[in-house]
Every structure is written in structure tokens, then in C-alpha cells.
């Protein structure tokens, strides 16, 4: 069964450093998303992406964040200058037709020290 995959599973970085979180969505999916989950809290929407552009972004997704689909298979989330409060699980998701039935990857745990 096709799955969304994410790398790395755990990323430790120092405050102020840039990080890139990588995702490979399900191959025939057209809609891509990033969410995050701070420990013990609910999952929060960051950004949706379709047809090579951002469809919607949340207040969390400020100028420090960017997304890119550099090729036909990868979808990346970049944080330019990490802050302590960026520490969270970051989930990538994808859906095939429209924005329904979003399937999530296993997540990347980002720890900012």
C-alpha cells in the first residue's frame, strides 16, 4: 500500500540554523500539506500546496517558512532560522483528487536547542 514517507525521522538543530524537512508524497497525489504537532497538543495546519503554488497558509507559516516541490516526487519544508518554539513533530500529508482523504506521513521530530 502506498505511503507518504518523510526524512529524517529526527532532526536536532541549533537555534538560528536552517533546516529542510523532506517528504515523498504518494505518487499519484496532487495536493500536498504540512502540519505540525507540538508535544501533547493537537495537530495544526501550516500550508497547503497545489499546482506548484501555495493554496493556503496559516499564521504560523511566516516568512521563515517555505515549501518547494523541487522535482516530481519530493515536497520540502524549509525553516530558514529556527527558533526554540519550532520544536515539534512535522507531518507531511497528500491527497489525490481534491482536498479530501489526506494521508499523513510518519513525521519528522524537530528539536531546536
Amino acid at each position: 500500500e502506498p505511503e507518504v514517507t518523510q526524512t529524517p525521522s529526527h532532526q536536532v538543530t541549533q537555534m538560528g540554523q536552517e533546516v529542510i524537512l523532506r517528504c515523498v508524497p504518494i505518487s499519484n497525489h496532487l495536493y500536498f500539506y504540512w502540519y505540525r504537532q507540538i508535544l501533547g497538543q493537537k495537530v495544526e495546519f501550516l500550508v497547503s500546496f497545489y499546482n506548484n503554488e501555495i493554496s493556503e497558509k496559516s499564521e504560523i507559516f511566516d516568512d521563515q517558512f517555505s515549501v518547494e516541490r523541487p522535482d516530481g516526487s519530493n515536497f520540502t519544508l524549509k525553516i530558514r532560522s529556527t527558533k526554540l518554539e519550532d520544536s515539534a513533530m512535522y507531518f507531511c500529508a497528500s491527497s489525490r483528487q481534491g482536498v479530501y482523504e489526506q494521508y499523513f506521513g510518519p513525521g519528522t521530530r524537530l528539536t531546536v536547542t
Partner: protein
């Protein structure tokens, strides 16, 4: 406003019993709902979804009920098994959103006692 919530943080059931997990939402414009299961250290796993033009949908051992009058959603799990132990989230998409922004509730932890 945007708010999706569950009634109970933890639900403990005996193996073999049926489980009912509840969720309340506040946005009457919401027209699509999903239930996710999240096991420790893993991403949310799609269980079942329902659109607002339906009031019931069944899957394998799971049923989702939608009551739009009182803005209430429930997930019923039949013959609960130890493997069902996880955190369950309801999530919604509002009718005004065609961008896929899912709004998640806080989550209910289901504990299955053997």
C-alpha cells in the same frame, strides 16, 4: 470561529466492548469531517470520513455518525481490540475552504483493557 473538540480526553474500554468517541464542532459551515487514529510516535492514520450531506457512514468495524443539528460527530468502534488503543482525532474542513486546511480537535485517548 474555528473550533473542533472532543468531549473526553481519555476513554477506557474492555476488549470486545464497543467504543464511542465523541466530537463537537462549532462551525456550521463545516461540510467534511475525518477521523484519524494516531499511535504513539506515528503520524495520523486515516480511518473514515463523512460529508455533511450524510448522517452515517460505515467502514470495517467503524461507524461515523454526524448530527448537524447539534454539530456533533461520533466514531463508533465495534468489538474494540487492543490494537485500537491510540489517540483519536476528529478534523474538519469548512465549506469555504477548497485548500484542504484540516482543523483538528484535541484528541481522545482510547485505552483498551484486556
Amino acid at each position: 470561529g474555528e473550533s473542533v473538540g472532543l468531549h473526553l480526553p481519555t476513554l477506557s474500554v474492555q476488549e470486545g466492548d464497543n467504543s464511542i468517541i465523541n466530537c463537537a464542532y462549532s462551525n456550521s459551515a463545516s461540510d467534511y469531517f475525518i477521523w484519524y487514529k494516531q499511535e504513539s510516535g506515528k503520524g495520523p492514520q486515516f480511518i473514515i470520513d463523512i460529508r455533511s450531506n450524510m448522517d452515517k457512514r460505515q467502514g470495517q468495524r467503524v461507524t461515523v455518525l454526524l448530527n448537524k443539528t447539534v454539530k456533533h460527530l461520533s466514531l463508533q468502534i465495534a468489538a474494540t481490540q487492543p490494537g485500537d488503543s491510540a489517540v483519536y482525532f476528529c478534523a474538519e474542513i469548512t465549506g469555504s475552504s477548497n485548500t484542504g486546511k484540516l482543523i483538528f480537535g484535541q484528541g481522545t485517548t482510547l485505552q483498551v483493557k484486556p
